[in-house]
């Protein structure tokens, strides 16, 4: 399949959502803006499908914008575009709700940024894109304006800004070291330059925040559930991938590897387990995202082919997680028992895929990387499926208890499409990405290896249903300092008023009056006159 691409297509893929977003501000369009959202990612999808040959140079924009694609990011771009299309469709019912236009506008801005992260070829564009996705997404988080959403929004914005700053500094160091702004050169320079380690650390933090790297993930379990369902879907499915993309782009091979492995694994297990203490299904999903992203980041840390394959894993996770979030929305809308059952069933399929059940996209994804990993990590990867299954089992349990019956029209088609994609896409891309025949994934060994953790996890989940863990507030590490300090610092004013002006003036008046009186009293001033003459005479005559 060859699709037409032109030199402007990458730019158009970014500008088009912006235009739609801007249109949302127009009075005539405002009410219908939500209905247009699904159109926004279409050029990007086209681009992803068309191939990697497209590139745009726009030297006048910003500090000179260059856009292009590489295989990994093409994959992510496609996934992102697809997810956003589906989520956009899922958002259509929100058109009736208040502030729809604002939501639509920032949706498009976030989308544009999200896409641009995968297209940017230079540091500045990348940063701009990252900032756009990062900050515009805040509006998606707080859209509901509930207390929880606003509180989550606060945490989100603080952490996001901190991340932006880290990124900026890291990118600047990189650009300086490279003497150029092209990402490839920057990555190369980071590996060799003296400032490299610092920059790598900063970048890891900056991207790690977005990608939910433990312990920088704290915002994620708060923010993702707070957003409206379609927004949660893209947040958890697509936007977190921006962080991943950043790491893949900028971290030199092997840089920060041990840290990423350690933190990634900590996240993979810890978040999954912590998910068990949550009641809100969206929160459980959010922790699952942290967990899954932990695994993917672990891959990045591991380096080599595993790292190369990370986008492949991410592709699956994005689609599946998007489906799961949409399903939560569907469940909330489900009216009848049958609808609820359908929802749950679909959710179970998607969850199984995430957990890596045999034949699922998730299993393929794991299979694709397992052989590339050192044995210990491979084991850890397998083992993580247990916890994932546990968490997702718990999710299903919580989902089943989520009730709503607000609307009859059930957008079940959309999560279904995503689930299907999550299953199909890894299969479709398998050969391209692993270089192995599809049969490899069907081998009994592979199936067995995929099955046992899921089974174990499922068993555990059943036990868990019986003996649930005590509920904990979301945000784990953040629960301690969550209290937003509204301390208005009091700074000492400059001592303009420290001295009483009136008193000073009075003192001055007194001093002057005293002085003048002294000069007048007994004609001291007049007496000084001949004395001055004599003094001058002395000085003049002495020629001093």
């Amino acid at each position: 399949m060859t699709l037409w691409v032109g030199p402007l297509l990458p730019l158009a893929a970014l500008v088009w959502p912006l235009l739609i977003g801007a249109a949302a501000a127009l009075p005539g369009v405002r009410d219908r803006a939500m209905r247009l959202l699904w159109l926004a990612p279409l050029p990007a999808l086209w681009l992803a499908l068309a191939g990697e040959s497209a590139a745009t140079l726009a030297p006048d924009l910003l500090l000179g914008v260059t856009l292009g694609l590489d295989p990994g990011r093409r994959l992510l771009l496609g996934m992102t575009a697809a997810l956003w299309i589906v989520a956009g469709l899922a958002a259509q019912p929100m058109a009736e709700r208040p502030r729809a236009a604002i939501f639509a506008g920032f949706w498009c801005l976030t989308l544009s940024g999200n896409l641009a992260v995968f297209l940017a070829q230079d540091v500045v564009t990348f940063y701009v894109a990252f900032a756009a996705v990062s900050l515009a997404a805040w509006f998606l988080v707080v859209h509901e304006r509930t207390d929880a959403a606003l509180a989550a929004g606060r945490v989100y914005i603080v952490v996001a800004l901190a991340g932006e700053v880290c990124l900026l500094v890291g990118l600047l160091i990189g650009a300086h070291a490279a003497g150029a702004t092209a990402i490839a050169e920057v990555r190369a320079a980071l590996g060799t330059s003296p400032g490299g380690p610092l920059a790598v650390a900063l970048l890891t933090i900056g991207f790690g925040i977005k990608a939910g790297l433990v312990p920088l993930h704290v915002w994620l379990p708060l923010a993702h559930p707070a957003a409206p369902v379609p927004a949660s879907a893209v947040l958890s499915g697509a936007i977190v991938k921006a962080g991943l993309a950043g790491m893949l782009l900028f971290l030199p091979e092997g840089a920060a590897g041990p840290a990423l492995i350690a933190l990634g694994l900590a996240g993979a297990y810890g978040a999954a387990l912590w998910a068990l203490t949550q009641r809100n299904p969206k929160t459980v999903l959010a922790y699952s995202t942290v967990s899954q992203m932990g695994l993917i980041l672990m891959l990045v840390g591991a380096g080599g082919a595993a790292r190369e394959a990370a986008p492949y894993v991410a592709l699956h996770h994005g689609l599946a997680k998007g489906a799961l979030f949409l399903l939560v929305g569907a469940m909330l809308a489900a009216g009848s028992r049958r609808q609820r059952a359908a929802c749950l069933a679909l959710a179970a399929v998607a969850a199984a895929s995430v957990a890596g059940a045999p034949l699922s996209g998730g299993a393929l994804a794991k299979a694709a990387v397992k052989s590339e990993l050192p044995a210990a990590l491979a084991q850890a990867l397998s083992l993580s499926s247990v916890t994932t299954t546990l968490a997702l089992g718990w999710f299903l349990h919580r989902l089943a208890r989520t009730g709503g019956a607000h609307r009859s029209a059930l957008p079940l088609a959309l999560p279904a499409v995503l689930t299907a994609l999550a299953f199909a896409a890894p299969w479709a891309l398998w050969q391209d990405w692993t270089g192995r025949a599809p049969v490899y994934a069907l081998a009994p060994d592979a199936l067995r290896a995929a099955l046992w953790p899921v089974a174990a996890g499922g068993l555990g989940a059943l036990i868990l249903l019986r003996f649930p863990l005590p509920e904990k507030p979301p945000g784990d590490l953040l629960t301690l300092p969550l209290r937003w300090r509204r301390a208005t610092p009091r700074w000492p004013e400059l001592p303009a008023r420290a001295i009483d002006a009136a008193k000073l003036a009075a003192a001055l008046r007194n001093a002057v009056a005293r002085g003048e009186r002294a000069l007048l009293r007994r004609q001291a001033s007049a007496a000084l006159l001949p004395l001055l003459a004599l003094a001058l005479f002395g000085l003049l005559a002495g020629r001093f």
Partner: protein, 487 residues
């Protein structure tokens, strides 16, 4: 008769100033026509000159009233950078001010001094020698006072007093430095390298310090910044003038002249002057931001923000490296556009909704969408978020810091960004997310107030988004830096 271009440029605001003083209060139309006409003419002249100067041309006009005193006006690329900013913003501010004041009293005085201020700023921009610079610098000091105290109520007068309290000693320091310097070197001409002759290095350092004190007061460098937040008592157009068109900019421009043209980069490094100045600028950046956090009045918060932001310029200049200088110079323009947007908005909030304190902003966003959007854009730009202008400056300053071997600058920038966010985002939050207070009414039925604001906001957006375009401020700054560094 041919009037030299620099003089003509000066006259475009001097003549309106002189005539306006003598207009009766009721002559609204004539007064407005004068101000606008002068502003438009000036912009036109500048546009005409931009291309010629980009090609390397320069215009000069001068006279020598006394031996050793040289009044020299010269239009070079740096001068044009500043004068374009002030001219364009003057035009916007004039439109805004006409609408803002309507038929309030004492307008002839206001617009007279306003034009005089701009004339002084033009003079500062075009000054070709240190002495000329000082003359116009002081003219600016003086013509600003009546504007700061324009309302003539107690806070305004106190603000005016504080302004003079800072301005006078600092101009004395400046004068002292100039006299000291010129008595050793002869007239200091910006276009020619200064021959420091026998002046001892420590004397040179002292002169530099005094010059910076003199300029730094206007540029609101800590600890000489106290007047600026106090001056927020003045009406919004004056704030725009102080923060964007003229005053603080003149100070920053003065620092540029001192570093660039009086001392020169080589001597700066030789004497080790860059680092202390950069440190001072950094302290200012942080302190201004920290203080802004604590302010509950919008304009006061904006004022402390200016304290912080203007030192970006100083920081860039003091780092003595191409990128940093580009960043600093570009920020001269960028900060002007962003800050004028913010103050215009603050003025509209005050005028149309009676809101002065940040608590009052609650829920105003939807009611005053244009204003609030502009305000938001300006605020985001101040934080340095792309694609606003502030972002471009920050990139260049950061790179400049690295290039000049001062990586700690990145830390300063990072901290400042966070602080900026900390004091701006709550405002945006209030604007857009809070429920409006019932007693606050606001509307935007004042197109002449909103239009300049929108233009300024678009400008701030445009110079960032199109920073790499061949006619952007950044391009101009790059041109300057190239001329300075490339043989």
């Amino acid at each position: 008769m041919t009037v030299p271009l620099p003089v003509l440029l000066l006259l475009t605001s001097l003549v309106p100033a002189a005539v306006t003083f003598f207009l009766p209060q009721e002559a609204h139309r004539l007064r407005n026509a004068l101000s606008l006409g002068g502003a438009l003419l000036k912009v036109a002249l500048i546009v005409a000159m931009l291309f010629a100067v980009a090609g390397g041309a320069s215009y000069e006009a001068g006279l020598t009233p006394a031996p050793g005193l040289m009044l020299l006006l010269r239009i070079d690329a740096l001068a044009l950078l500043f004068v374009s900013l002030s001219a364009i913003l003057w035009l916007l501010t004039t439109i805004y001010a006409i609408a803002y004041f309507g038929t309030k009293p004492q307008l002839s005085r206001f617009f007279g001094f306003f034009s005089l201020c701009v004339a002084a700023t033009t003079g500062i921009a075009l000054s070709g020698s240190l002495f000329t610079f000082f003359i116009f610098f002081e003219l600016l000091t003086l013509s600003t006072w009546p504007l700061v105290a324009h309302k003539q109520d107690a806070p305004s007068l106190a603000a005016g007093r504080r302004y003079l309290l800072y301005a006078m000693p600092c101009s004395a320091a400046l004068l002292w430095a100039i006299v000291w310097l010129e008595s050793a070197t002869g007239p200091v001409i910006f276009a020619a390298p200064t021959d420091f002759g026998t002046l001892a290095p420590n004397a040179q350092r002292a002169i530099f310090a005094l010059l910076i004190v003199g300029m730094g007061m206007k540029a609101a460098i800590v600890p000489l910044h106290g007047w600026l937040p106090a001056a927020m008592a003045a009406p919004a157009p004056v704030s725009a003038l102080l923060h964007a068109v003229a005053v603080v900019k003149a100070g920053a421009f003065g620092v540029i002249r001192v570093v660039h043209d009086v001392f020169g980069m080589d001597r700066m490094s030789e004497l080790g002057l860059g680092l202390p100045l950069a440190a001072l600028a950094s302290v200012t950046i942080l302190w201004g931001s920290v203080r802004a956090l604590g302010q509950r009045e919008i304009k006061k918060r904006l004022a402390y923000s200016t304290v912080s932001q203007v030192s970006y310029i100083v920081l860039g200049i003091s780092l003595i490296g191409p990128f940093a200088v580009i960043g600093g110079l570009a920020h001269l323009i960028h900060q002007g556009l962003m800050k004028i947007t913010l103050f215009f908005c603050a003025g509209i909030y005050d005028e149309r909704a009676g809101v002065k304190r940040i608590e009052g902003l609650d829920g105003l966003g939807p009611r005053m969408p244009w204003t609030s959007t502009c305000f938001s854009l300006g605020a985001l730009g101040m934080i340095g978020l792309p694609p606003m202008a502030g972002f471009v400056s920050k990139i260049y300053l950061g790179l400049g810091g690295l290039q000049s071997g001062a990586p700690w600058v990145l830390a300063v920038l990072a901290a400042s960004t966070l602080l900026n966010a900390a004091y701006f985002l709550p405002l945006l939050y209030r604007l857009w997310f809070r429920e409006p207070a019932p007693e606050v009414q606001g509307d935007e039925r004042a197109p002449a107030l909103v239009a300049p604001t929108v233009v300024a906001a678009l400008g701030a957006l445009g110079v960032g988004a199109l920073a790499a375009a061949p006619v952007s401020p950044l391009a101009w700054a790059t041109l300057l830096a190239e001329r300075a560094w490339l043989p």
